[in-house]
């Protein structure tokens, strides 16, 4: 056995407890989602089952109004991501490039907002939305997700913007570009990787958010996916676990795939900033 192989084995051995903790719920999710209904509660529990019931997904889709919730989730997550990024870019740019009084204070304020759990704010937010007449509207979620995510997005973008050499913009000014042209032609193209990575995180945060969605959305038609799935479990006489798990698979797997695919931007982003 080569030393390198030994080392790899050791690392995997050390990592294995973590892998189990992370992968076990996914395993259970998959096998439950594909099981026939009467094999759900066999004792002792088994990993195997008699047939792959792909129909679970089709039944679930209709029964749980999955499509509607999916559209709601997509609307809320995409809109809030786009708005958060668009609003964060100028803020992060200013923090990265300009000197102004209160800059340190503002940065600390952004960090502090991240230390507060949304749960603490739920009551206040609910009353605010009542006041704004936004309760039971998906836009209330968009607004709050944008607000909650912006501190993070500004922070992320700013630290990346700092790695883009100032001279690039200065060179473009001397070449005859206005500040705006320089921003659009030089700066933002270089910041794309950071924007993509930040957008992914924001999207996932919004996609998975549960507490606010549960509080601010009242009608079943406007539920986002986490709330919709939750409503299949909570307050019911009978829980259709195979449907719940099928819905969970559909809610998580596409996002996970997109996420791992886009991760390459993260690496490319790091490399781009280093060009000298």
């Amino acid at each position: 056995m080569t030393p390198k192989l030994k080392k790899s084995l050791l690392y995997w051995l050390l990592l294995s407890p973590l892998c189990v903790v992370i992968l076990l719920p996914f395993g259970i999710m998959f096998v439950t989602a594909l099981r026939p209904r009467d094999e759900l509660f066999v004792y002792p529990p088994t990993w195997t089952f008699s047939e792959f019931r792909w129909e679970n997904f089709a039944e679930m889709w209709v029964k749980t109004n999955f499509g509607g919730a999916l559209l709601n989730s997509l609307y809320v997550s995409l809109t809030s991501t786009i708005i958060a990024i668009v609003l964060s870019i100028p803020a992060a740019y200013a923090l990265s490039r300009y000197r102004f009084s209160g800059k340190g204070l503002y940065r600390n304020f952004l960090l502090m907002t991240q230390m507060m759990s949304p749960i603490v704010l739920v009551l206040g937010l609910f009353r605010l939305m009542v006041h704004l007449n936004l309760v039971n509207s998906l836009n209330s979620l968009v607004v709050t997700y944008v607000a909650f995510n912006m501190a993070f997005t500004i922070w992320m973008l700013q630290s990346y913007f700092n790695t883009i050499p100032r001279e690039l913009e200065e060179a473009s000014w001397i070449d005859g570009a206005t500040s705006f042209t320089s921003l659009v032609k030089i700066f933002l193209p270089l910041a794309v990787p950071a924007m993509v990575v930040t957008a992914i995180f924001t999207f996932i945060n919004s996609w998975n958010e549960f507490v606010l969605a549960l509080t601010l959305i009242r009608s079943q038609n406007d539920y986002t996916l986490p709330v919709q799935i939750f409503s299949q479990v909570a307050g019911r006489y009978q829980v259709e676990w195979h449907h719940v798990m099928a819905a969970t698979v559909l809610a998580t797997v596409p996002v996970a795939i997109v996420f791992s695919w886009l991760q390459r931007y993260l690496i490319r982003g790091m490399a781009l900033g280093a060009v000298k």
Binding site: A171, W173, I174, D175, K185, P189, L272, V275
Partner: protein, 356 residues
Amino acid sequence: MASVTISGVEKWFGTLQILHGIDIDIEDQEFVVLVGPSGCGKSTLLRMIAGLESISDGEISIGTRMINDVPARDRDIAMVFQNYALYPHMSVFDNIGFSLKLRKRSKQEISEKINEAAEILDLTPYLERSPRQLSGGQRQRVAMGRALVRDAQVFLFDEPLSNLDAKLRVVMRTEIKALHQRLKTTSVYVTHDQIEAMTMADRIVVMNKGRVEQTGTPMDLYDFPANLFVADFIGSPSMNFIEGIVAADNEGPFVMAKDRTRLAISRESSAALGQKVVYGARPEHLVLASGNEGFDATIEVIEPTGPNIQIFADVAGQRICALSTERRTHKPGQRIRLHCPETSVHLFDASSGARI
């Protein structure tokens, strides 16, 4: 092309003063090098000419136009940055042509100009590459190309060679100088390397702590440094200094070092008897002497450089350097006599540092 006039320029960062009233007149077609140790304000001054730093006080004009409040893009200048500042997401072609595209020149004119610049700079085979795929020297050339196509009134260079290895630096130095001789564009070049300054400049401006110490042609600065700072800064290996007091005897005036070593000076020198001075002698002016001429020295270290041999020796308790072309075999510890012809001696006032 145009002249550049800098008059009474000051720069403040908050309460910190970086530049103390700088006056420099740069003539049309001149190649002026701003040189000084790091932190002396030379780059700040260049950036103020470029329009990247505001001017706290004083005026900068290009030609007859005062440009204090003109944004960088309208100053009609071109600049080469220390880290080249090439746009990493554009090809070499687009990097060079960016300014022309912004000025909405026709496609044909743009590509003609780019090809012309590429020709001059030997970049033709690399036009489609991205900056990442170029070597340091090639990137440097692209940065030059970006300045070339502009037909700007003034070229500004901010330590453009400092990221290159020693050999390439010498090559590029000559290329930039040749380019200037050909294009004759007024150029301001910032460097901390006095050799670069000496070899390239029509005129050198030596700066220190936000002030101009001396302005002059390279040989002027070398032969007649205005003060200790310039004398020390210009020349490599740098000038030897020995402190002493002016005295005189039958043989004429001399500087008496602390250990009473006699350092002869010219009879025409205006130094007063008893004045505390610094005696300066360039290494190449210190020759091995025989007989009574000169002063005693003890060899400490010998460094052959090829064309000559650097002899580091102890004189009056100070280490000095002498350059010798003779291939005699000296040894550390050996006692020798060194002599500097009186006309080559530089004298400076010990308290003010000014040339006497």
